[in-house]
Symmetry: C4
Subunit: 199 residues, 4 copies
């Protein structure tokens, strides 16, 4: 298995894993627009009211666009430090992607039912688990020598930072039972903070 | 981090940013077909009438296909002049893409409610903001030395041209309150003009 | 601008045009599955009847999968003969893709209303126009020197073959008013023939 | 034509076939999220009940994500052993992809009607046929010399393993008439086994 199963950085196989991953990110982020539904047969005045009332959906759209975009930047950074893959790393990457792909579902819930705790809990669960799996993936890559020698020092400093959003999003779950709006605001604040940081 | 965080033109990381961007463009343009809905259980005669009445949807489909295609050509051209990226440029690119991805939403509104000003205003707002963010992105790249030396003279001449569609689409907003149809015609005319130009 | 505007075969820009085109083909072919709708809340027996009755939708799915796949093979072949692009060729390629992207719409019509002439006419119109635009694109590339010297002899023999499906699909339009089923069978026969051929 | 029709491993044409295939896999796996529908206008308590009742849909989502992901890993492995393509291999690959793209349809059925045998049968039929076509594709590549010399010994050992899931999924069809739940459990068990294996 060793030779043909360990795609090195310059091979077509390495490129395919990256291309597949980028494709999944690109599609998941683009499907977010499908959560913005257009009703049929409204009167002009009803359409106006509908669009005014659509701001939670638009807010959820931009929030999730930023969340998926932020994950993509982080994934991009982590993969830039890898020198090869093994099967388990590919499976971990798939598990991670299964959470990214799920994001449009709680996004739509958040747009429709953002005032209730169910939508916020599910949203935090999906995003927190994605962050957690990103952390697991980087730990695994570090432990099993898939990180390029020159990037090891930098990579070793990342896992804790990757865990931070996981903890925050999980921590927002009990908060969201008390006050869903506060939980959302906390998430947005930490997201803005995450964009400021590296990683 | 500086070294590994500045993907140069030949790196996998540069290619990933481009591939992700192209993927998002390709998906957004293809999702436009979902705005053409097929009703169930119509009689043959009702189907005929439905298809005849579908021309505004088809018009909106082709208009948005041309708009996204035109933005893709422009983006393609701008990116061909870059020599590397930094984090802010990636974030600006994501913000720009969040407008491109949104286009199918006002497209569907335009197909359903093209006669009213709400749909036209929203359409102009999304497309105008995309053009504006494209302008911001190129300005940033020029100011921070991300443009290849040999392309700098050409790049310096572009921003004003990029701003033109932004101004036009924003300007069509007040016009659309007076006459939505005229605003649409102006947009189409300027789009045809844009295809004639370079950039 | 000439230098930077003419992506040659080895450049990132050439690769982007190809990647965007392949992305659009891949998405359009995959969106075909969305024409297969799953009703909610059926009884077990009603579900069984529904699935039995779904064969026209499944037939339309496989027909369009084969059609888009066949166009992709042809496009793949034509692009393998190009040495560079200019702006008009990119615009022609976009116009061609606007027909490929549209295919899921008449596919869904064909699945729902295949027995009527409207669906068959629209299907033939879209597919015939795609073939026609493919022919225009290759003619343009040949005339303006975008075909690699060693491929010119082969390329010169293709346009007529590309025109054949256009003629056939257009010709099936009057036939479909007489007998939609016959028009469909003719299309399928010619499609099978097309897969046998090269190009 | 022979020369230009046989894309070798380093050519743009080889890369396009791979990119198109990865794109189709990426989109099919991402469209799975569309099977998770969000109802409008539920009360908070009804939303809670709805989410609790959604576990079969979530189960179907993760099952199909794992199935498509597993097929992608296998396809990735098989393609890494090829040295070139011919037209028939491309057509076989398209036929194989037409089954992968279909997966979201029985997935949605399984989520809605998992307790009945129809959904399980259709699911097993689609996944089994995909595995069968993967087997046909590899046999063809081996027989017609498209496998790289150094990978031939390894490739020759794979077809039987590829056939195993086909047989299992087909075998689950009669089982699903007796007990759909058992058939599902068998599938999941064999899937877990497949992830453990190579190939």
């Amino acid at each position: 298995m060793e030779g043909s199963r360990t795609p090195v950085r310059e091979s077509i196989e390495f490129a395919r894993i990256v291309a597949f991953t980028d494709g999944v990110f690109a599609i998941a982020i683009t499907l977010l627009v499908l959560s913005l539904e257009v009703p049929s047969d409204l009167q002009a005045s009803a359409l106006h009211a509908f669009l005014i009332d659509s701001w939670p959906q638009l807010f959820a759209y931009f929030l999730s666009f930023a969340v998926i975009g932020r994950f993509w930047i982080g994934h991009h950074h982590v993969f830039s430090m890898l020198q090869d893959f093994d099967r388990r790393l590919i499976v971990l990457n798939l598990a991670y992607l299964s959470m990214i792909v799920l994001v449009p579902f709680p996004t739509e819930l958040l747009g429709e039912y953002g005032g209730g705790s169910d939508a916020v809990v599910l949203y935090a669960l999906v995003v927190g688990t994605a962050a957690l799996l990103g952390w697991v993936m980087l730990r695994y890559a570090l432990r099993h020598g898939h990180v390029r020698p020159e990037a090891r020092a930098e990579a070793a400093g990342i896992p804790a930072r990757l865990l931070l959003p996981a903890i925050v999003f999980y921590a927002s779950i009990p908060l969201s039972f008390l006050s869903p709006e506060t939980a959302q605001l906390v998430s947005v604040g930490l997201l803005l903070d995450a964009f400021r940081r590296r990683g």
